[in-house]
């Protein structure tokens, strides 16, 4: 089973944010979507998740159906999504937020409890969501997506690590790897290229709305291509076991 994106274009008003992207990914993989700000990463994954309300064209095929034309309920059965800026405009507890996974498509208590354990948020579930730190809120919202997600399904995350500390990132990255090992396809937007290098099997590199490169992370995340695309120099440090892509200080003249 694989995700096929065919000639996908997305508009925000009159601006074409994604321009004819064609790419695919197999189940059981983690795909990192990278690129500079405004390159179309979020617009791409929002359109794949079926939550872009504006104009779009092309096709997004998953499990034999076009996600662009599916009903919201049918999409929710096979695709779980976490937005870049999670919002909960009600005084829900963390458990109530996670329980929203079954608000429209029923989910069993077992699903919810498994998600709570997978994201290690059991100690947070009785606290008000609004009182949690940014990283804790992200883990709770991820737990909601895990509870909605069936193994073998498609999980789409837009910058899920942005407010997490290192320990939280480590824990969540491990949970995502477990999902992929069990056959799920995880599409994750990342700004942290070191994390993308450590986590992803494949990388989709967006630039000015187009797909600049896609493929196994070893081929896409090379120092030379990253340097030219991001406008800063990169080098690998730390040996072959835990490679890290880190920006290098460039002395300026004048």
């Amino acid at each position: 089973m694989s995700l096929l994106i065919d000639a996908l274009s997305v508009w925000h008003g009159t601006r074409e944010a994604v321009r004819g992207v064609t790419v695919s990914a197999a189940a059981g993989r983690i795909v990192a979507v990278i690129g500079r700000n405004g390159s179309g990463k979020s617009s791409l994954v929002r359109a794949v998740a079926g939550v872009h309300a504006g104009r779009r064209s092309g096709a997004v095929v998953w499990r034999g159906g076009d996600l662009m034309t599916s009903s919201a309920v049918n999409r929710a059965r096979s695709v779980a999504y976490v937005a870049q800026r999670p919002l909960v405009a009600a005084d829900f507890t963390a458990r109530e937020v996670i329980g929203l996974a079954g608000a429209v498509v029923p989910r069993s208590t077992e699903h919810v409890e498994r998600a709570i354990d997978a994201l290690a948020v059991r100690e947070l579930v009785d606290r008000p969501f609004a009182a949690l730190s940014g990283g804790e809120q992200q883990r709770v919202v991820l737990a909601r997506a895990f509870a909605q997600h069936d193994l073998g399904g498609l999980l789409i995350l837009d910058e899920p690590f942005s407010a997490m500390d290192l320990a939280e990132q480590h824990r969540v990255a491990g949970a995502l790897q477990c999902l992929a090992s069990a056959g799920s396809l995880v599409l994750v937007v990342l700004h942290d290229l070191a994390l993308a290098d450590a986590l992803a099997h494949e990388v989709w590199w967006m630039e000015a709305g187009r797909l600049r490169a896609s493929g196994p992370r070893e081929s896409v995340l090379s120092e030379a291509t990253l340097g030219s695309g991001f406008g800063v120099a990169f080098e690998r440090v730390g040996g072959s076991l835990r490679p890290i892509v880190a920006p290098r200080c460039e002395p300026t003249t004048g």
Partner: protein
Amino acid sequence: MTIARSRTVAWFLIIAVAALAIVLRLMLGARGWAWPTPDIVDLRLGALASATVAGASLGLSGALLQALLRNPLASPFVLGLSSGAGLAVSVGALAASWGAAWVMADGGMVAATIGSALALIVVVAAGRRHGAIDPVTLLLAGVVVASVAGALTILVQYLMPPSSRGDLMAWAMGRIPELPERVPLVVGAALLAASSWWSVVRARWLDAACTADDEAMSLGVDLPALRWRLVVLSGALAGSSVVLCGPIAFVGFVAPHVARLMLGAGHRGLVVASPVLGAALLIAADALRLAVPLPGAGKLPVAVVTAILGGPIFLWVLRRQGGRGA
């Protein structure tokens, strides 16, 4: 277990408050307190039925509006829906006085629904900034719409024939009729029942709609369809209450807040408790109105009582929201 027990206690309190309000209203008449005889109970049941349907409609309308706009300050009165409905009914009454009696054949129900729904659409359109609803802009838009609609209602009253002007003015200040017209009462009760049923069935969708738009859609909510239904239902419920009792302030705001304090933010409890508390609040306000003596033989309009009770609570919630940076 603790949550279940506290919810049971909360429901018991809600039902007890509603029952107490009903008993108070049945015991209070224009001449003070008394155990009512069956004949007097029959007489007071008309006012009780009007206040029940109008108060419950306002409570449910407020809960649905707060879900629609993700804003706890939203209510039919604050957003100008009640004033819009009041203006539409006043225009209908004027048209009827000029010979177009068919406009008010349903007691003004259609006119009130159109008036309140139009007011909501204008307020939401004016309350958006950069494509998103801004709470402060929305409230200001509601104040403007309510003020303009209120001023136009006064103009319409001025144009009315003197014989029916007094009746319209008394209604515009909020009046719970002891002998309600049958059509608005029955239609209002049917609308309330249908809206309550829909709200209970869709309560979990309303919970999911408290998240960001794209997350709500990813959870399976058909957000555009849900929002249109919320606009129509909250507008129709506000319009129904206006037809029955005139524009009444703050019931649609206070009832969902008290329900939320007692039962939490989940809409399964909220959409049931808000109409019960809205009805209890309006019945209690009507009883209080009768209990407060005024110079001469007059009685306070019920909208004055609800405004005096609801205004401070609104300011408290506004301050609390401001503290959260909303």
